[in-house]
């Protein structure tokens, strides 16, 4: 086989992963044993009280056996049983290999993360979620195509980042849920409990020293284990397909699918940074300063997390792992085929209006017309889109100030703050809006003036 799903070294490496998972769950099982938690078996099986730790010990034992199988069975990779079944990979690829499904899943996941925060932050639930994601990664590594992308040296940090983000998001939500519950009961928040002053030497400098040593060990081990990438020498004549920016800019590169470079590459990054800098000056909410809470600042946290997860991290994951040659979308187990074709039949708003709806064709300036009259023709041609954009950015904010949910914000924030705030929100919403327009109406540009490099 040219592209073996399993090789001896992959099986051996996975053996280590399962061994680590086995050890993690053994510790977890022992912690459960100490807590002396029990659950009742169904009546038809006798209805006994069984310690919860039994399940975890059984699971750890199973993982240990799986690990052992990997260490001992690496001699014959093509007959090794533990891998993802082809039908599962095919169905994942056929259902999920679509930016619409991917975006819907990330937004849905984001909504569930906030809505079910009291449930999924419970230690046992979070632990099961962690186990599931590691098992998913381990099983997926048995696929050749998955390994090509995820195992790329520069992509390894992204996988690490995803686990770190999951971990720290769990810390945030469990502490916020805890504090919100305490405040509802009139109890002091956790940050105010046992909050004595301690001396920096030794209480802070020792943890700092330990942290530096651990980090150095991690970096050296990482450096020994994973060589830095080095491809062929630079060759301007030979463009790789796909050509990708460094991973932290791939969210911006993904935006190029929906917006032109002047927006996706220049204006939006500037707005993101300007918006981040403006954040402390538009968030007028005094509470939630210096402690974890969700309920006291639900709007600010939800908006920020929406910008961070579905619109930034998920787009980086999309751009890194799921965009292949010609920036086509590929499933996680799909081969990056250069010849994969995707139909592009997107239309500009002006074409939809003048050609399809009015049926008169788009206005065209006469040959040799003056610059002024050409400009007028162009503006008339794109008038519908220009009006839409103008209404969106200039008429919507006053409307939001006068009516509805945002009215109380306007009363608190004053004119300038509110205008900055609403324009930031609207520009953030501009990305998902354009995505939806593209997917529902096949809309290419709302305003299409290639003559001036002015496409929206």
């Amino acid at each position: 086989m040219a592209h073996p799903n399993l090789t001896s070294s992959v099986i051996f490496g996975l053996g280590w992963l399962y061994l680590i998972l086995c050890l993690m769950n053994s510790f977890w099982a022992m912690a459960q044993l100490k807590k002396q938690k029990h659950f009742k078996v169904w009546d038809i099986f006798g209805g006994m009280e069984v310690p919860s730790a039994t399940t975890w010990f059984a699971y750890s034992l199973f993982l240990g056996l799986v690990s052992f199988a990997h260490f001992s069975g690496s001699g014959s990779p093509d007959r090794f049983m533990l891998s993802l079944p082809e039908f599962f990979k095919d169905s994942v690829d056929s259902i999920l290999a679509d930016p619409r499904v991917y975006f819907a899943l990330t937004v849905g996941g984001f909504a569930l993360m906030i809505w079910l925060r009291e449930w999924w932050t419970k230690p046992t639930v979070a632990w099961i979620l962690l186990n599931m994601s590691i098992l998913f990664l381990a099983l997926s590594m048995t696929d050749w195509d998955f390994r090509q992308i995820v195992g790329k040296p520069d992509n390894v940090p992204i996988v690490g980042m995803l686990f770190l983000l999951g971990f720290f998001t769990w810390i945030y939500f469990s502490r916020a849920v805890d504090n919100d519950r305490r405040m509802a009961q009139g109890l002091p928040i956790r940050e105010r409990e046992n909050n004595e002053s301690v001396l920096v030497w030794p209480d802070l400098v020792y943890p700092e020293l330990i942290c530096m040593i651990v980090l150095t060990v991690i970096l050296v081990a990482w450096g020994i284990g994973l060589p830095a990438p080095l491809e062929e020498p630079a060759n301007i004549a030979k463009t790789p397909n796909p050509s990708k920016a460094p991973w932290y800019f791939l969210g911006l590169q993904e935006m190029l699918v929906y917006y032109d470079p002047w927006l996706a590459g220049v204006v939006f990054p500037s707005v993101i940074l300007g918006g981040l800098m403006a954040l402390p000056y538009i968030d007028f909410n005094k509470s939630g300063n210096g402690y974890y809470t969700f309920n006291e600042r639900s709007f600010a946290v939800s908006t920020f997390l929406f910008g961070f997860f579905p619109l930034w991290v998920a787009l980086i994951v999309l751009g890194t792992f799921l965009r292949g040659p010609n920036w086509n979308f590929f499933g996680i187990y799909e081969f990056w085929d250069v010849h994969k074709l995707e139909a592009l039949n997107n239309k500009n708003l002006s074409e939809i209006v003048w050609d399809d709806m009015l049926g008169v064709g788009r206005p065209v300036a006469e040959a040799g017309a003056s610059f002024a009259s050409q400009s007028v023709t162009i503006l008339i041609r794109e008038s519908v889109g220009l009006i839409f954009v103008f209404l969106y950015l200039a008429a919507l904010p006053p409307l939001m100030a006068a009516t509805g949910y945002f009215r109380k914000y306007y009363n608190r924030m004053g004119f300038i703050r509110f205008m900055v705030f609403t324009n930031l929100i609207l520009l953030m919403a501009a990305l998902p809006i354009k995505m939806l327009l593209r997917w529902v109406l096949n809309l290419k540009y709302i305003v299409a003036i290639p003559e001036w490099f002015f496409n929206i």
Partner: protein, 257 residues
């Protein structure tokens, strides 16, 4: 008298540290006040403020990674020449020949880790609402440091001068071509002309400023090398100093108000 006490009683030790070992409360206070490196800290902090599950330590991690990048970066500069003739070959030598070649691995993974650590640090600062008054301005300084971290990583990405490097920078810098008014394929650039002569051309626009050339070439390598090794680190070091100083001036590490 034990050897430890003998050393700590010697004139040399006393001249460096100026006080006895931090074994009692008084000297634990004095050690922080009189040591140049430790005096970034206050003498005492609130217990919950330094709890790991509260503070995550990611700002400190970022700073430590900056130091790691500086040290490994200086070592790498001894081995690396930013010219078309040598850049790639020097990296090859780092991989295959040089004893301290692992410095490149640590430098590269440290750079990725630093980007991630900055994000996690900002994530924590946002989630604890620590950008709120009186720390608004320090958050702004932090956002600038985020930009500079990304630029450091971006400029460093080019230096190995392999296909990965050159094309990532080409794709990334192509965006600058579309800068409104200042990129020659950006909206409004046509308006900037005097008597029919365009001010903004492919040889004078924002992308040219970034690359020092119409394409990613030797001028770009030189430009990115200087930005990466000298210009940006100097600015970052200054802003880090301001960032730390402001933490102390703005009421210390985050705490419930």
């Amino acid at each position: 008298m034990s050897i430890g006490d003998y050393i700590r009683d010697s004139q040399i030790w006393k001249s460096i540290f100026r006080h006895p070992a931090p074994h009692d409360r008084r000297n634990r206070i004095v050690v922080v006040l009189t040591n140049f490196f430790l005096h970034l800290h206050p003498v005492s902090v609130k217990q919950q403020g330094i709890a790991l599950s509260y503070t995550w330590c990611m700002g400190g991690v970022t700073f430590f990674l900056f130091l790691v990048e500086t040290i490994t970066g200086v070592l790498l500069m001894f081995y690396y020449r930013p010219t078309l003739e040598w850049a790639f070959n020097d990296i090859l030598a780092l991989r295959d020949v040089s004893t301290l070649g692992i410095m490149r691995e640590i430098h590269r993974w440290g750079a990725h880790a630093m980007v991630i650590a900055v994000w996690l640090h900002m994530y924590r600062v946002f989630l604890t609402g620590s950008y709120k008054p009186p720390r608004e301005f320090n958050w702004v300084v932090g956002v600038i440091l985020l930009v500079l971290t990304l630029l450091l990583s971006f400029t460093g990405y080019l230096l190995p001068w392999d296909q990965l490097a050159v094309w990532a920078i080409t794709v990334g810098s192509n965006m600058a071509r579309a800068t409104p008014f200042l990129g020659y394929e950006g909206p409004g650039a046509q308006l900037l002309n005097i008597g029919g002569y365009d001010l903004i051309t492919s040889g004078s626009d924002a992308r040219f400023l970034l690359l020092g050339s119409r394409f990613v070439g030797e001028a770009t390598l030189n430009r990115f090398y200087i930005l990466h090794c000298v210009a940006i680190p100097l600015v970052v070091a200054l802003l880090i100093a301001i960032h730390f100083w402001r933490i102390r001036k703005d009421g210390g590490i985050s705490q419930p108000l």
